[in-house]
Amino acid sequence: MPAIEELTDAYERYVLDNEDGFMDEFRDRLRDFGGRPTPLQHAERLSERYDTEVYLKREDLLHGGAHKLNNALGQVLLAKYMGKERIVAETGAGQHGTATAMAAAHLDMPCEVYMGETDINRQRPNVFRMRLNGADVTPVTAGRGTLKEAINETMRDWATTVENTHYVLGSVVGPHPFPAMVRDFQAVISEEARRQVRGQAGRLPDSVLACAGGGSNTMGAFAEFVSDDGVDLHAVEAGGSSLAVDEERGVAPNSASLSTGEEGVLHGARTRLLQDDDGQILESHSVSAGLDYAGVGPELAHLVDSGRVRATNVDDDAALAAFHRLSSTEGIIPALESAHALAHLHEAHDDLGDTVVVNVSGRGDKDLETVIEETDRREIDEAPEMDVFTEGLR
């Protein structure tokens, strides 16, 4: 892929070496258009409840409602610097698609977003938002119609159009330089959080928690803490409904590739994957569309293998409970993805130390329909009755 060589060259020049002031412009736009820095909020009720100082990194307050804008803005701007004329992207939860559509409108670039049909149906508000920002949303019907299939389709588009098109990949996955570049654009999360927690708590945290789908908010939240040996880093995956694999149907009812996957090669990266004994990639499952991916970023997999990052997982029910807990106790409605990190806080707070930072990677507006339906179907701790709403949905 010559596209990859061209992109590597642009990454080294503009991102690493700040050629033509690229990184300065990126920072300015993150501030003025994006609303950075985001707060690091001390969560009073949760702190009391867990007898631990809990700090929330509020990426839900970033423009667009998720950390995804950091990367999307960086890449769309880079595409401009590279002289590209068109943007393509894939999206799972729709947050990356939304962020890309916003950045593309902001920087005046046409944008096409591929999205699995399953995800289109469960993340409609984001489909509307992408359309409102002028992007075309192209449904992908292959497989289970989630993120993996959307990535395949976007790669096909890019292979056809690379001469004038940049592919804004949404996480720290895919071929080099994407994983490193996306991490660098997301590292602003931990840059701020590290400074903020020192200012507010007077010390570094004992633990940092982030959910892991592909792992972009994870790597962003961890990057500046990796060399702080006293800070434990926890990547929380979607345990879905079960960690067992249905080999017959080729489905893993989870997306816990760090916890249960094996090494393999997908989308141009060697990493941990959900796969069968032959090496065929399994369909993953999570109540949160943004975590629903059979792979994970190669650098994150490496940090887990080397013991620097601990991979854990929580199931769908625990994530839903955490969603309701944060909503009702702190007045923050988190994305279902982020709720996984909060669920791990709930389950493991005794072992996380005195000061904990949890990355709230996004807000939950996009998930309301899913949450209402799923909460109504199950018995979820700390959840209000949902039947009044489900009537309205049908």
Binding site: P2, N152, R156, T160, T161, V265, L266, Q280, I281
Partner: protein, 279 residues
Amino acid sequence: MNAIEAAFAEGPAFVPYLAAGDPDYDASLEYVEALARGGADVIELGLPFSEPVAEGPTIQAAVNRSLDAGMTPERFFAFVEELDVDVPLVCMTYYNLIYRYGDDDAERPRAFVERAAAAGIEGFVVPDLPAEEADPLREACDEFDCDLVFIVAPTTQGERLDRIMSRVSGYVYVQARLGVTGAKADVSAQTGQSLDRLAEWEVPKAVGFGIASGEQAGEVVAAGADGVIVGSALVDIVAEGYEAGEDAATVAERLEAKARELKDGAVAGAQRTPRPERT
């Protein structure tokens, strides 16, 4: 000279592709044998992978039919062993299946090549394996006397081209146009330019992506190609037969006729325009 080079040495080579096991194991055996009767010089056999990112809709659907019918790497090797054809066979697949094969991590990817070679495979095309990452597979291919074919896109340039040149054998797969596989009505103007860039390469040049008729095959050969690779146009015949519920023998006849058209077209192309002198 190995079997693949020999196949190219005899004149313009016709290299058809089918997904092994599409739409099912038994029919697919007949189809591949029909291609050989129709004049195939080398056959690319697809070992289906769940994420066929280099493929357009036609071959994606073929891959899915084959997987749904139970194709696995082991069944693929059995398929190759059972095939009754007298032309070299190239395995076209994605790297994860090669990488994951075998029980012993330390033996990867050698175990796959060893097994494939034992079954009768003489070369590999792995569209998602960049030349930068190909040395372990290249070494295994050398050990078992197999070729490793690389795809060169119209935009491949510079160091990358050199890296491919130093690792490719058998033939170089010249991608006629940007994008993914799929039959097209015209021959891309990029083909001639792509061939010119590789003029110095010693390995035969086979052009693929979009060729669907004998006439197009002739144009490509007339432009200087040593061979033509045809996939989607043949897979289309398999798909139509499958959808119409036709019996395998009828579909096989049609494949054989199409193969003959493509092979004859390639030969006519070579006659129409003298091969450009290679210095």
